[in-house]
Amino acid sequence: MKKDLHPLAMVALIAGVTLFGRVLPTWTLSLATIAASNALIALGIVVLARTGNVSFGQGLFFAAGGYGVALIANAWGLTDAVAQVIIGAACGGMLGLVVGPLIARYSGIFFGMLTLALSMVFYGALVKSTALGGSDGFNVGRPTLFGLSFTDPREADFMLYAVSVIVTGFAGIGATILFRSEFGLASLAVRENNLRVEYLCISANRIISINFVIAAIFAGASGAFALMAQRHIDPQFAYWTTSGEFVFIAVLAGNQSVAAVFVASMALELVRSFSNLYLPNTWQLVLGVFLLGVILFLPRGIGSLWIRNRRKRSTSTAKALAAERGAAP
């Protein structure tokens, strides 16, 4: 995605990707759904990382969105996919609105550890609450779309794929617009030096809080997708390894490009499932080597492949990466 790509072109891109789903095999659809959902939450982390703070506790909002949707679905029988995404985003966003301003005055590792602490407290509470199924969680019915129910599993998969790609795509467009806006640039300034930003009569805490809420909304919506894809929820959603995985996608992508987040998420999911399929005993090893390779050769993330850095070195690393990917399965 070039810097000057028009939002309408991006909308066309989303439509293209969605329709492309018609020709993809079924296993790719569910994989792409998971990848899109992970990309959405990683995008939130990238948004937040542009203020210089990394949240290790996005699992909190992920789980909040998931549990909110699941509880409402089971209590009132609300199964519409779009409504569920909106509910998930609202749950995540409301929690973010509470947590964000409290946490905005911390920075660096303190910020990360505090978000982690909150998500782990939530995890502990979920595990102990028997009403919510304890550590086993509970099941949720199949999602519908605008009153249509999908009995054919392929159609259901495609519906989920379409909804997740469209929502994630629009979130991506929103994030791109945000990054280019005055507010997005102010966020970058907060990362560089928050004291100077304060001198310019901009509240650094407010910028961090708003970015935090945006990240929380994305995480909540992503939780709704994960719930719809698995049709099951358990406290693992809030566990710190879950959050860590999203942070990893964000690190892989770097914070220069929105498209990189999608590429990174898809690449990670592909490497994981292929190595899981062909090397069932050593897939973690393959995944680790892949992550290590990206970090060693692309220290600024996958986004640095096509942003600014079009020198000889980047093409050679692209080849190395391609070779790495080719070698992985």
Binding site: Y106, I109, F110, M113, L114, L116, A117, M120, V121, A125
Partner: protein, 148 residues
């Protein structure tokens, strides 16, 4: 054996960091990297040695605790979180803070297992949150000049 060894090492590190030239260099690098470079300090080497030293301590801790617990490959993840929590409670870059944090966390964990088992999972995080609430930079914070 564990307690005297860790106390000894803790004291040695505190002494090394605060009372020797090498310690001063390390602190200078942390404080202002560019300035240290211009003063002729090999910053990358200091980072590498500091990292190696941290790894050494971690390996030592692993070797010393191994006989007391059951070893498995996933052992590391719990330790990462615990040690980060301890460091955050104590304050970054403070040896005495880490010691106090470790004692606090260990006692709290043991107490909650004994008195309130349902809180065992997250008592550490509660303590961390409580400490950060009142002292946003940890219990023992090294005074630093604010760079503008």
């Amino acid at each position: 054996v564990l307690i005297p060894i860790s106390a000894l090492i803790g004291f040695a590190i505190w002494f090394g960091l605060n009372r020797t030239v090498i310690g001063k260099i390390v602190l200078a690098v942390i404080h202002n990297e560019e300035m240290s470079v211009s003063m002729g300090v090999r910053v990358n080497r200091v980072y590498a040695i500091a990292f190696a030293f941290g790894v050494l301590l971690a390996a030592l801790a692993g070797a010393l605790t191994a006989p007391k617990i059951s070893m498995q490959p996933g052992l590391s993840s719990d330790v990462i979180i615990l040690s980060f929590a301890i460091v955050v409670i104590g304050g970054l870059g403070s040896v005495e803070g880490a010691a106090v944090g470790a004692i606090l966390v260990g006692l709290a964990r043991a107490a909650s297992v004994h008195l309130m088992p349902q809180a065992e999972l997250f008592v550490i995080y509660l303590i961390m949150a409580a400490v950060l609430m009142f002292r946003p930079e940890g219990l023992f914070k090294r005074e630093t000049a604010r760079r503008i």
